[in-house]
Symmetry: C2
Subunit: 432 residues, 2 copies
């Protein structure tokens, strides 16, 4: 089977170039361009301190049509006032110029340090350069994927292909994120559509996380860009993206520090000629989107700053989805739990007490906790278990924490990583 990538869906070109914004020599300016106006939807950070590109992006995606995305890494263009907005608009204008589009058809993104004006001379040259190298090969996709990275150690991408009748539809995505990861993104107008995460749990996902040269820039955020050649109306894309985000990007946390720049944008070129509007096709498309978003979110947890493992926390049989998510998130964000996971310590008291502090109903006398399948706590009391064996089981690339609340029918999974000294090194040993 051919390896799918961001440009496997027909109708897109991309590029990534080095413009000298990152301190290390690696791509730091990326362009993703649709040949024709594409249906578009995006979710953005709900941080009250949001970057200039988020403000501009929210405005540009409102029409439901975009020609593309322009991104830089190494500077977040956040807390930069009116000049920041002018610079974000300038990025759009230049990208539009090389794409033969209008500026308001471009969504801009930036990631990197907060509080510094963009180095516009470098960036302008970079965007024009990137315009020269647009293409739709796998190499072009990889260069774009690399251009959005900051402290990430690995490139992150995922793709799936499915059939509608006899026609193939491809959906692909790339993302970045390693630290300053605690996204709670919502649609551009911060409209709550009351969507729930989709329950689909399909397993077969085409993950493709390759090692990069390990460029470590100064800050982080999460950015995700998704492409499909399906033909989908923007309102449908919006609804599906919001739902997919809840169960994926909004369910990953490294340090619970929601960034000023978090953005996920989905572009549908329609180039496959396959219309997605209702019925089985809509279901297949929604499942594919959920799958790609979950695969991308998982890669963010796995590449969290200093991470040596993923910790997958599932809270089940809670009274509501919101309660399940809140408890899972409280466990995921406890530094004590994350340190225990780092030390392969089956110290379940930290997990149960984190569930109790979440501020939502939780009754330890009904609950059961399993670590890597081993029951360690039930009905308010410790269970005897082989601590040495349990510890050994925690020395794995993924640790499953499973808390059964025995109080309802809702469940949620949150992915995080362990907390190591490397996180301190990355985030303390650097001066503004």
């Amino acid at each position: 089977m051919a390896e799918f990538h961001l440009l496997s869906p027909a109708g897109f070109r991309a590029s990534g170039v080095y413009a000298g914004i990152k301190s290390k020599q690696a791509p730091d300016v990326g362009l993703l361009i649709a040949d024709e106006p594409a249906s578009a939807a995006a979710v953005f950070t709900t941080n009250r301190v949001f970057a200039a590109p988020v403000k501009v992006g929210r405005a540009h995606v409102k029409s439901g049509k975009l020609r593309g995305v322009v991104v830089n890494a190494g500077n977040a263009n956040a807390c930069t006032g009116k000049q920041g907005e002018r610079d974000a608009l300038r990025m759009c204008a230049l990208a539009a110029k090389v794409a033969g589009a209008r500026p308001e058809q471009i969504l801009p993104s930036s990631t990197g340090i907060i509080g510094h004006l963009l180095p516009m001379e470098k960036l302008e040259r970079g965007i024009l350069d990137a315009g020269q190298y647009l293409g739709s090969s796998r190499e072009h996709a990889l260069l774009f994927a690399d251009a959005i990275l900051t402290t990430d150690l690995k490139r992150k991408s995922a793709a799936v292909q499915f059939k509608v009748g006899r026609e193939r539809v491809t959906l692909a995505g790339v993302c970045k994120g390693s630290g300053m990861i605690g996204p709670r993104m919502s649609l551009e107008g911060a409209v709550d559509l009351g969507l729930k995460p989709r329950a689909s749990q399909r397993a077969a996902t085409n993950l493709r996380a390759g090692r990069t040269s390990g460029t470590r820039a100064k800050h982080a955020t999460m950015l995700a860009y998704l492409t499909t050649d399906a033909q989908v109306a923007a309102p449908v894309l919006r609804k599906l993206l919001a739902g997919a985000t809840e169960g994926s990007f909004n369910a990953v946390t490294v340090d619970d520090h929601m960034s000023t720049n978090d953005t996920a944008c989905l572009l549908a070129s329609g180039a496959s000629g396959v219309a997605i509007a209702r019925g089985a096709a809509l279901k297949s498309f929604g499942d594919a989107l959920d799958e790609v978003c979950r695969a991308l979110a998982y890669q963010i947890a796995a590449d969290g700053e200093g991470a040596t493992k993923v910790v997958a926390i599932t809270v089940r049989r809670a009274k509501s989805q919101q309660i399940a998510q809140t408890i899972a998130r409280a466990i995921a964000n406890s530094p004590l739990v994350k340190c225990a996971m780092h030390g392969n310590d089956p110290n379940w008291g930290r997990i149960v007490s984190a569930a109790g502090l979440a501020g939502v109903p939780f009754d330890p006398d009904r609950a059961m906790l399993k670590l890597q399948g081993t029951a360690v706590f039930r009905a308010g009391r410790p269970l005897s278990f082989d601590a040495a064996r349990a510890s050994k089981s925690l020395a794995a690339p993924q640790v499953d924490v499973d808390l059964d609340c025995n109080s309802g029918a809702a469940s949620a999974t949150v992915w995080t990583c362990d907390l190591s000294k490397e996180y301190i090194t990355i985030n303390a040993d650097y001066h503004t």
Copy 2:
């Protein structure tokens, strides 16, 4: 001036002995006994997973009268089911026996590892031993103060004396806490009296934090015991303690992990003969209580696991007290902010973005941020400052982060510490 200590207020005796519960040889069982039934109030953790001694303590303090407190360190008696409750009651029965009191006149506390039954044979012997060594000297006070410590590196105590007319009143306290520190304590019945932190900001506090032998046990929680020889009715004590807690213990966070055992208990012997009920005397007493609680809370932040400095975060001119506290707490709990503080990095973008993610109104375009007195951000834009000098100013035992919201009249201060590799060492390199 004589050095005040926990037993300076007349009418109390205390002791601390080693019973073999901690892994290192250091006092781990403490008794604090009032000669006569004392007026009493206590606040407890609001974690839905609360330890057996918290359950028993809530019931025992309800009468408003206690004869004393029995504490052990090294084992939290949490998640221990019915047997845990029986053990907590047994602690009370033994303490009552040595004090000539009734079991329900004793408040029990435990701190240490979660999920293990108390080693009752050792503990029973310890309590009886402690009963043999009760006294009211400074040495007795220090032994009790040491007996409650776990991962603490320093003993924590504070005391003030004030006059009501020509009579002296003394108020003193000891506490413990280093990790698993994110208290949100409330009165025994979880009654919200709508009390606000007192505004009093008196400076002259008799701090007395001495180094101990550095016993590091396995877990942590916050415990505080306060004594006074004033004569105060229990309802007044309750109201004052709840208010003082908000601006002190509930305003300190090391890792935002609210413990299962957090407890603060205030005993008033009345032995000074000075009645506190209203007017200037009540004001003086309330101020003294605020002062002692704040001094104790500060010592917890300063001795946070791995801490090299205190970070004092003041959010001012917010729309409400709750907004100010929520923003200050979000800043205090960001691992990115804590790492920046550890690295003396004036990386203010992390602070402003943490304010924006708190989930309460915050407008960066109105705000101003100062680090150690240096303005670094105002009205949505960076200010130019000498980064090297700012970094140097952060290499201090206390760093002041001052965020002016310019949106109202409320303010709040939260104390935390930096995040260092030592925190990881303490919490990852240990096996259950």
